[in-house]
Amino acid sequence: MNTPVDIATESITLRIDDKDVSCRKGETVLQVARENGIDIPTLCYMEGLTVWGGCRLCMVEIAGSPKLQAACATVCTEGMIISTQSPRLENYRRMIVELLFAERNHVCSVCVSNGHCELQTMAVKLGIDHVRFAYRFPHLEVDNSHDRMRMDHNRCILCTRCVRVCAEIEGAHTKDIKGRGVLAAIIHDLDQNWGESSTCTSCGKCVNICPTGALTHRGTAVGEMTKKTTFLPYLTLMREAQP
């Protein structure tokens, strides 16, 4: 029953950064912004995977709402007025990225992902040249047990893109999280070495979806690890293809 009235209620108009845009019912602020060429920084969001809402870089201001909202997790409503950039938001975003650098050991100059890392790119984009917070310098291990892939916990930002792609697309659910707070960490199966996992299919999706140098192919040297991201636009399709 596609009466004109229905069509009208199915489409929504809103305003993002002084630009009038329209979208379908159910779309998130982030999706609509991207469709319209408006850039909102993200690290944990990945189209085709469930929304996580953990990195908090995509926070935007919504007129009339005292609280900031995560663009990736906010569904558009009629007449919304959104600002994605403001001195306050930029300051918060810078602090969040600084916190990520302080949390674990990120030494870009010796990282296999140097030059191809989303965290590094984000820092450059936000103009971060120093960190004001105390570095934690935690002792973390590198899991070299898998014969093709490597997990370096020093570089992990706990975005859980790997966990979600493994569970939702590959259907293996090899990865998950253990622990609380800054002690949280990615695990394989029941906190075993990756190489001993009985569920991992070695598909490599997690490596390619990981934004940082935490998941890499073995045998790569500094700056050599580039991720194959060509499959990423098809994640939604892959998911829909599942029974």
């Binding site: 809402g53 953990g54 908090r56 916190l99 707070g181």
Partner: protein, 548 residues
């Protein structure tokens, strides 16, 4: 169970009670059990038996009588006794027919008891929580009977709305509004969840309600389920509350056996069942979306809202989630009416609130007071003031999400609005009193450490932000900080508050912000006496070699 059977059950117990000429009630809640009230109860039972008074003296274990610091508490007829040791059993039994044991008497006319107003805790101290018959004799399930036989779900919701009851779990959301949202949500399967996670340090109100009057909670849940159209209830309790779990389990089993849970309650076509889920004790699992994830068998982590549980909760179904004390208020509202409830309290905060008094205060324990009571009255009259001749410094309300209220604001009334105005919150009801010896920066550090270790780790501002705020507070406490550190701390507080995903992170800075608001001089004093603040600018920024 048929309606007449409930009355018959109550009558039977009352008849039995009439045969007794004396009653001894021993507190058997966690506080008193920790000082051997369970042994005391056994000894008294034995003494009564030995004297051949079994048919004359009724001995029973009851819920918390409030003044836990003086436990074990015991009531023999109209005399209350405190600090009773197991070996006092004989003397107590003897006193029934002679004079009271003076050295153990606890004055029930003191303000601690006289100034309270009991609704939720009206039966604690009178009923045996392990006996459904005793609870029914004191009115349990009467409200449910009334609701199922004479009210429509809409009328129930209207009554709750009229009462003005607000959620006792912390945020104070209007309960009637929540119920009506869930009742309007589409879908055949709906759930009711009772939040008994109670993770705030220093809080034990909900534990006491679950241990002392579990049927009241079940009854409140059943009424909620009827109102919103749910058939299954879940009580989420932390495993650290073994006695509460035991009493609730027993209550559920008894209610099921008596037909007060199950199919076609009181001859209506309303079915309701309840099961218990144990939490492993993570503070964040008290947050509603994390709690639901935990019940679903997933890792207990919050998710962005909306959608709210009222529309999409447990297994994606509309879910009514309320706090233990919220549900425990419902039977009284149904029996006496929303109008009656609304006469108690202030304009926007209705009814009573249970508080757990702890810290540097004479009477520690549980109190139930009307909303709007002056804070001074709680601290100085009910709680008896500060011991050892020390001066009052501040009271912390709302636990790790709350703040401190200093002496100059002692005259405020205790309700949702005025506590929020002062930068604290009502929270779930913890009240930690501090005297002049407390260092407020240390208090802030304590709560930050709590938030840091309880952060679930999902979002960056809370996960790393609480760590860094704790670092800065620690540095200030150790006299290693500079003014730059204090400014950075303030900036972090703002960012973590504004950007965190759930209430834990959003409110983690509150203890810092409120101690800064009233006690900034303590921060400054520590910083001024730090060698670092005199050496250069104290800037310890680390250059980031991001770009190579």
């Amino acid at each position: 169970m048929k309606p007449e059977e409930l009355t018959a059950m109550a009558e039977k117990v009352r008849k039995q009670d009439a045969h007794f000429s004396h009653h001894i009630h021993v507190c058997t809640e966690s506080g008193c059990v920790s000082s051997q009230s369970d042994v005391l109860l056994k000894n008294i039972t034995d003494e009564v038996q030995q004297r051949g008074l079994k048919g004359k003296v009724c001995v029973k274990g009851v819920g918390c009588m409030g003044l836990c610091c003086n436990g074990p508490l015991l009531k023999a007829d109209d005399t209350m006794y405190q600090f009773v040791k197991p070996e006092d059993a004989g003397a107590i039994v003897d006193s029934l027919t002679s004079t009271p044991v003076v050295e153990l008497v606890c004055d029930t006319k003191q303000p601690f008891f006289a100034r309270q107003k009991l609704i939720v805790r009206e039966n604690a101290g009178h009923i045996d929580p392990e006996s459904i018959a005793d609870c029914v004799a004191h009115g349990a399930y009467r409200a449910l009977l009334k609701v199922l036989t004479s009210m429509t779900p809409q009328q129930v919701i209207a009554e709750v709305s009229e009462s003005g009851l607000r959620g006792r779990g912390g945020a104070g959301f209007p309960t009637g509004l929540k119920w009506s949202t869930v009742s309007k949500a589409g879908g055949k399967t709906k759930y009711v969840i009772c939040n008994g996670d109670e993770g705030d340090p220093g809080a034990f109100m909900d534990r006491s309600v679950m241990e002392g009057d579990p049927h009241r909670v079940l009854e409140g849940m059943a009424i909620g389920a009827y109102a919103v159209g749910a058939g299954q209830g879940i009580i989420y309790v932390r495993a650290e509350y073994p006695l509460a779990v035991k009493r609730l389990t027993r209550a559920i089993n008894q209610a099921r056996r008596e037909g007060l849970l199950g199919h076609g309650l009181f001859g209506s076509n309303f079915d309701f069942n309840v099961e218990i889920r144990l939490g492993a004790g993570a503070f964040v699992c008290g947050e509603e979306t994390a709690l639901i994830a935990s019940v679903e068998g997933k890792r207990g982590m919050p998710r962005p809202r909306p959608p709210y549980p009222a529309n999409s909760g447990l297994h994606g179904c509309p879910t009514l989630i309320n706090n233990v004390e919220t549900f425990a208020n419902i039977p009284a509202i149904m029996e006496r009416g929303g109008k009656w409830f609304a006469t108690i309290g202030t304009e926007k905060s209705k009814g009573t609130k249970i508080f757990a008094l702890t810290g540097k205060i004479k009477n520690t324990g549980l109190i139930e007071v009307p909303m709007g009571i002056p804070l001074r009255e709680i601290i100085y009259d009910i709680a008896g003031g500060i011991p050892d001749g020390k001066a009052f410094k501040a009271v912390q309300t709302g636990g790790p999400s709350g703040g401190c209220i200093p002496a100059e604001h002692l005259d405020i009334t205790v309700d949702y609005e005025s506590l929020t105005k002062l930068g604290s919150i009502m929270g779930s009801g913890g009240m930690i009193v501090m005297d002049e010896t407390s260092n407020m920066v240390d208090v802030a550090r304590f709560f930050m450490e709590f938030c840091m270790t309880e952060s679930c780790g999902k979002c960056v501002p809370c996960r790393v932000g609480t760590y860094e705020m704790h670092e800065l507070l620690d540095r200030i406490c150790k006299r290693q900080a500079t003014m730059a550190d204090l400014n950075l701390l303030k900036e972090l507080c703002d960012m973590v508050k504004q950007t965190s995903l759930c209430g834990l992170g959003q409110s983690a800075p509150n203890p810092v912000l409120s101690t800064l608001r009233y006690f900034e001089n303590e921060y400054l004093k520590l910083i001024q006496s730090s060698p670092a603040s005199h050496a250069g600018d104290g800037d310890h920024h680390v250059a980031l070699e991001v770009l190579s």
